[in-house]
Symmetry: C2
Subunit: 323 residues, 2 copies
């Protein structure tokens, strides 16, 4: 990671650490402090700071907007983890496991409310602009999460429906993070919207990469179990692509694997189909296409090239192309 990126991360870490919450009720505020302290990549708030600095130059003015995005992200993690019955988050017990589901519901709600408070800390006109994109994004994130849950029981999911789901569930918040930073920095609506598009396309590329890594990551470097999505019968981009391209024989392998109880056999059978159909290559090419659109969005931004460098670096970092 380069030093510029590291310095942004330091600002965020400091903001999170200095963020004041009341002490009581303990069971409400401790889980909020806990999830925030678990860390994570802090990509979203860094995007907000970077976008702000593209314009008026002082990222500290964007601190509250950056923190709002991070709080919103953590609100969605706490609630999603209940819905997914996830026991672990970043290697530690999830809030609903460490406390209970009721506490996770309520402290998630309170995180969302805190994120609104932070956005209301700007002057009225700017706050209203920030809230407009934030509200739209927040609704879309809920829609994306519901659509993802719907997919579990839906027999046929098209590639387009899948991309639209990840756009809402993951990508729009990256766009929103950038747009809010740009607005705080005094960017025009047009430029803020262009940055939003860059974030959305980067976010889709990032999520596609997540799907690919679940199957093809080097286990020694990957934080989760390789093949986890396959074992959980999760409809990923790879699986949907395989369904779309499979012949009758391959379709039957995919169908039968759903009820295969031996995890390693299941992974083996599905991966065999993926390999026959060159799914890794096809998915990687789709991911690269979205990444290229994002880079193109960046290229067309009317800003000096050297200003754009930190965003390029972050995009590379996000895609695991270590800088």
């Amino acid at each position: 990671m380069n030093s510029k990126l590291q310095s942004y991360l330091n600002v965020i870490d400091e903001s999170v650490q200095n963020f004041q919450l009341p002490k009581n009720p303990k069971q409400l505020y401790e889980p909020m402090r806990y999830i925030l302290a678990l860390g994570g990549k802090r990509i979203r708030p860094v995007l907000t700071l970077m976008a702000c600095e593209l314009f008026k130059g002082e990222h500290s003015t964007a601190k509250n907007a950056a923190l709002a995005v991070e709080l919103f992200h953590n609100f969605s993690l706490v609630h999603d983890d209940i819905m997914d019955q996830a026991p672990l988050r970043r290697g530690e017990p999830t809030v609903h496991k460490k406390w209970n589901e009721n506490i996770a519901i309520l402290s998630g709600d309170a995180l969302l409310i805190e994120s609104y408070k932070l956005l209301c800390s700007y002057d009225a006109k700017l706050s209203q602009k920030l809230l407009h994109i934030f509200n739209t994004t927040a609704s879309e994130v809920c829609e994306g999460q519901q659509t993802d849950m719907d997919f579990e029981t839906q027999k046929i999911v098209s590639i387009d429906e899948y991309v639209e789901m990840i756009r809402k569930k993951t990508a729009v918040l990256l766009g929103c993070s950038l747009k809010m930073g740009a607005l705080v920095g005094g960017a025009s609506d047009k430029v803020a919207d262009d940055l939003y598009q860059f974030g959305v396309n980067l976010g889709i590329a990032f999520q596609l990469q997540d799907d690919i890594l679940d199957v093809y990551a080097d286990q020694s470097k990957f934080g989760k179990q390789v093949g986890g999505d396959i074992i959980a019968n999760k409809k990923t981009y790879l699986l949907l692509l395989a369904h779309q391209n499979a012949n009758e024989n391959q379709k039957s392998v995919l169908e039968k694997s759903i009820s295969e109880s031996d995890a390693s056999i299941k992974v083996q059978h599905i991966m065999a189909v993926y390999n026959e159909l060159k799914i890794q290559e096809k998915a990687t090419s789709k991911m690269n296409a979205f990444y290229e659109i994002a880079m193109n969005n960046l290229k067309h931004l009317s800003l000096p090239e050297e200003k754009k460098q930190p965003l390029k670096d972050l995009a590379e970092f996000l895609m695991g192309r270590e800088v």
Copy 2:
């Protein structure tokens, strides 16, 4: 109910019915429409409209703020019903029973976000004022709910702690409803704050009445099971007052009743202690005291008396003193 009150209720019902939500994802937006259509007393949004009309006279400008309050109230009901594992709400299945818990969590989240959208529909300066009181209130409602859950496992709860809990969980939203209406109507901050106090004190009186009715209501007129709080070992104002006033003998009856499995014997034993200690009279007197403070808040508002009449009527209606 008088015709003025009825006309406000009609405005609210119309607003709720005309409130547009996207069609898809169905599992996200249908539960939101469902809970909103279940009705309820709509006290909070009526307070917002009334407060607005005390000033500039046109309640329609306060419609979005009123709807925001009603949506927030419904968000808290949907999430509270999960936490309380309540099967019914207004005689119909709760959202988590009709659909499932995940859907109830997410559609609750989306209701909260929609309430923010409505508050952002005013001009920037007014929005900021509305959001300020709304954010504070929303946090307090979460704190009140958590404190209420904490009480379940807490051995000793003082009367003051209890009143503070119901202030946050129930009363501040009534205050907020009035204050937001007043701000939309162009009231000064001072007058808006005075109305807020009126709402909070009325809200506490209302909640104390709820505790009293749970034990002493006429079953034929009461929507819930009389004695429900006693059967559920709920720490109500009445029970805490009984504990505070009980002699050793009465204390032991209260203690033993916790584990009594026969519901009617339990209610009978606890009510015997309540009667010995004149708990109904004492609780009623406390309720009346808060009601009187509320009336006093209203009296000191610098507004013509005839303007205050609808608020007085609503307060009487709320306290079951039919007007």
